[in-house]
Symmetry: C2
C-alpha cells in the first residue's frame, strides 16, 4: 500500500531553510520533484526542485550527502526503476537535507537558481502510450466525429489507449512548429496539403513508469501502483483537420506525433500520497470493472485530488501586457479509469512496460465548458469562438499563441503542491 | 540516386573464400547484411553474415582491418546513421576482405560459426511505426471489419500508419507467449477475458531508419531513400478477437503490442540495389500521389523485386518429421506506397525519425489466396480452415505452432540474396 504512505516529509509544519520554498505554489518542501537540469552550459544531471532553486543531486552523491548511485546517470530512468522503499528513503533523506539547518552549510553550495538552468526531458522515453480515460472528453469529441455514436460500446470495459510517438516529446518551453499535412474539407474533391488550420492543445496527466515487467508477464492490479514513478503534465498537441481525415481505421498518427510537451518535473507518488482520494463511483447502470481491473484499495485511493488548468496568451495579449487568460479549470478525477487500471490494462496482454515509459491519460475534461480540456470542445468544433481580453477571438491556435498547463494538488490539512509549468508557443510552419 | 548504385560488390562472378557463402540462398558475398551477435557467452558486437558464418566486425576494427568507429558500439544505431557514401565504402571494404584470398589469413580467425552464436535486436529501437500499404490486405481485412466499406476514402491519398510498441520487438527465435485479453463474441453480453482464440501472424517488410531528421523539418521525397539503413522481415503478431473489440476509435493496441518478431539481419539498401524495380502503376481511376509524395526516380526504382513466403510447422508435424508447409508466397511489390513514400509521409508533419527506428509496411498480401499474408485472410476470418499435411486443420494459430517468414530478392543476371529467417513458436498463455 505504498501509495498511501505518509511520513514526516508530508508534515505541513515542516519548512525548508531555502526561503523561496515557503508558500511556493509548486515546490514547497512537501513536493521534492525530480528533474534533469543543466546549470548554464554544463552537462545534464539529476536535481530536485525546492522553491525557486534546484538542488544538484549528482553533486550531493559526489559530496557523500546522499547514497544513491542512479542519481549519477545522465537520465532518470534508473532512478525511476528503484523499488518503492528505496524511493521513500531517498525522499526522506532529501527532505532532511533541505529542512534541517544543520545541513545548510554543506548543501547550500549545491543549489542553483532555477531561472539560470535548462530543464531537459527527465528520462529516455522508450515508449509513449496515450489513453482516452477522460470520459467527458470522449463524449464531447465522439459527438463531433460520430454524432450518433459518441461513446463506443467498448469504452466502459476497455481503458482505450493507443501508441504515440516518443521521439517528438519535448520539455516545457520548447517552441512548437505548426505542422503541415493533409486535410480534406467536406466540399473539397481531393485533400489539401498545408499548415494545419485547426491546431489544438490537449490537457493530460502524464504518468512515468518506474519498475517494468517482463514480456509475457502481466502486472496485477494490486501491484500496479508500485510500477508508477511519478506524474507530469502533458500537452498532446493535435491537428484536428489532419485527424479527421487520417484516423480511420488505425487511429491518430500525423495529427498527434509532431510534438508533445511535458512539464519536466517528475512529481512522485510519495509526494502525491496525501492527495489520494476515492475513485468517483461509476454512474448507475455502468458495468463494474472486469475482475482484472478491480481492486478495493485502488477504488478507495486511486484518484488524485488534482486541479488542472489551461492558460492562453496571444502575441497581442503579451504586447498589451495582458495576463494569460484561463481557458479551463477542472479536477483530474474526471478520469473514468484510475492510473493503476491503465497500467494493469496496458500490461494485461504481457506487453512489457519499461522504466521511463510515459503514459498519457488522454484529455481530461470536466462536464461543463469551463472545464473542457481542448479547444475542439470549447469552440464546439470551431463553431463557437471564444473572446480574448485583447479583443481577439479563437477557435483554434494561431502562430504566436502560448499555451500553459498547470496542476495543483490540495487536501485539507496538507500543504498544496504543484507540477510546474507545461508551456509552449506556436511558431509558423516551415 | 544512391539506391540504384551498383559496383564490384554486386558482381555475380565475385565469390568468397568462405566456402559456405557459395550458392548460399540468404548470405552470399553479394548480400553482407549487418547484425548484432554474441559468440557463446560473450558480449554483443557488430557482425556481418557470410554463408554459414559471421564475421566479427568489431574485432576487424580492433585488428586494423576496417576503419569504422560506429562498429565498436554495442548497438548498430550509429552504423545505421552513417552517410550513404560511408556505408558504401564500408561495404566495399568488407566485400574485399571476404573475397580476396590475400586477406584470408588475417580475417579467418575473426569468423564464427553462425550456429554457435546468438543474434540480438540490431538496434535500440526508439520508435516503431506500422503502416498499412498492402492494398490487397487492406481490402481483405477491411471487408471483414467493414463489409460495406472495405477501403476508406483516405487510403489512396494517405499512406495510412500508426504507432506500434517498440519494447516488445524480439529477434527471430524468441518464443511468443499467447496473450490474454478482452474479447466480445457477438452473442456475449459482456466481454470475456482470457487467452486469445484468434492468434494470427502478419507478413510484413521492416524498414530500418538510418539518418534522422530534426523535429519540425520534413524529409523531401527525393531524399527519403538516403534515410533508409536497411530492411528486415517483420511478423506483427495479432490477436484478432482483441482487435475487433478494442480498435475503435483509436486503432489497434493490445491486439498487437504483446510481441513482434523481426529477422535480425539488416539487409542494406546497397545490397538491394540490383533488385530495385519500378513501382507498379496505379490502377486506372486511382488518384496520382499528391505532389509531396511524387518523385519520378521513386516511381522508376522504388519497389523491390522481393518474394515473401510464410511457412507453418505444428508440433504434430514436427513429431511426424514433416516439413513446414508453405502457407503463402507473393511479391513485396503489392505495396500501394513505396518505402520512400512512407518515410516522407511519416516526416511530412515534422515528426522526427531517428537512427534505429523501425517502420513496418503492414501486411503484404497478393491478390489471390495463395499469397495472403495472414490467417485472417487465408481462413476468411476463421470460416474456411486450411488442411495441414499432419491431418490437422487451422483457422488461427495453436500453441506449439511455429511460423517462419522468408524473403528472397532476385533479378536477371544477379546472384539472389535472402533475409534469413523470421521465426517464432507460440507457447501457452501464462
Amino acid at each position: 500500500m505504498s501509495y498511501w504512505h505518509t511520513d514526516e516529509t508530508h508534515d505541513p509544519a515542516r519548512t525548508s531553510w531555502v526561503a523561496s520554498a515557503q508558500d511556493h505554489g509548486d515546490f514547497p518542501i512537501q513536493n521534492l520533484p525530480y528533474g534533469l537540469f543543466s546549470p548554464a552550459d554544463e552537462a545534464p544531471r539529476a536535481g530536485v526542485a525546492i522553491g525557486d532553486a534546484i538542488l544538484d543531486l549528482a553533486a550531493c552523491v559526489g559530496a557523500g550527502l546522499i547514497d544513491c548511485a542512479p542519481l549519477l546517470e545522465g537520465q532518470l530512468n534508473a532512478l525511476m526503476a528503484l523499488p518503492v522503499a528505496e524511493r521513500i528513503a531517498l525522499r526522506r533523506r532529501i527532505s532532511a537535507l533541505l529542512s534541517d539547518p544543520a545541513h545548510r552549510p554543506a548543501v547550500e553550495p549545491l543549489l542553483h537558481r532555477a531561472a539560470d538552468c535548462t530543464l531537459h526531458l527527465p528520462a529516455r522515453i522508450g515508449d509513449y502510450s496515450d489513453f482516452y480515460v477522460g470520459i467527458h472528453h470522449a463524449n464531447n469529441i465522439g459527438r463531433q466525429f460520430r454524432p450518433d455514436n459518441p461513446l463506443l460500446p467498448n469504452y466502459k470495459y476497455v481503458p482505450i489507449g493507443y501508441h504515440g510517438r516518443a521521439s517528438s516529446i519535448r520539455p516545457s518551453g520548447d517552441p512548437l512548429v505548426r505542422p503541415r499535412g493533409q486535410r480534406k474539407p467536406p466540399d473539397a474533391e481531393v485533400p489539401l496539403v498545408g499548415p494545419t488550420a485547426r491546431l489544438d492543445y490537449e490537457l493530460e496527466l502524464g504518468v512515468w513508469i518506474g519498475a517494468g515487467n517482463d514480456l509475457g508477464s502481466p502486472i496485477p492490479i494490486g501491484e500496479a501502483a508500485d510500477h508508477v514513478a511519478g506524474f507530469c503534465l502533458l500537452n498532446d498537441w493535435s491537428a484536428r483537420d489532419f485527424q479527421a481525415w487520417e484516423y480511420q481505421p488505425l487511429g491518430p498518427f500525423l495529427a498527434k506525433n509532431f510534438h508533445s510537451t511535458i512539464s519536466p518535473w517528475v512529481v512522485t507518488p510519495e509526494a502525491m500520497a496525501p492527495f489520494r482520494i476515492a475513485q468517483p463511483a461509476r454512474p448507475d447502470g455502468d458495468p463494474a470493472p472486469l475482475p482484472y481491473l478491480s481492486d478495493a484499495d485502488d477504488q478507495a485511493y486511486g484518484a488524485l485530488a488534482l486541479t488542472l488548468e489551461v492558460y492562453l496568451s496571444t502575441q497581442a495579449m503579451r504586447d498589451a501586457e495582458l495576463s494569460p487568460m484561463r481557458l479551463s479549470q477542472g479536477p483530474a478525477s474526471n478520469m473514468y479509469w484510475t492510473v493503476s487500471q491503465i497500467v494493469t490494462h496496458h500490461a494485461s496482454n504481457g506487453c512489457n512496460l519499461m522504466p521511463g515509459d510515459l503514459l498519457g491519460s488522454g484529455t481530461i475534461s470536466a462536464p461543463t465548458r469551463d472545464g473542457y480540456g481542448s479547444l475542439m470542445e470549447i469552440s464546439s468544433g470551431g463553431r463557437e469562438p471564444i473572446s480574448l481580453p485583447s479583443g481577439e477571438t479563437r477557435c483554434f491556435l494561431e502562430d504566436g499563441d502560448e499555451v500553459t498547463l498547470r496542476a495543483t494538488a490540495s487536501a485539507p490539512g496538507n500543504v498544496s503542491i504543484g507540477f510546474g509549468e507545461c508551456r509552449a508557443t506556436v511558431v509558423p510552419a516551415r
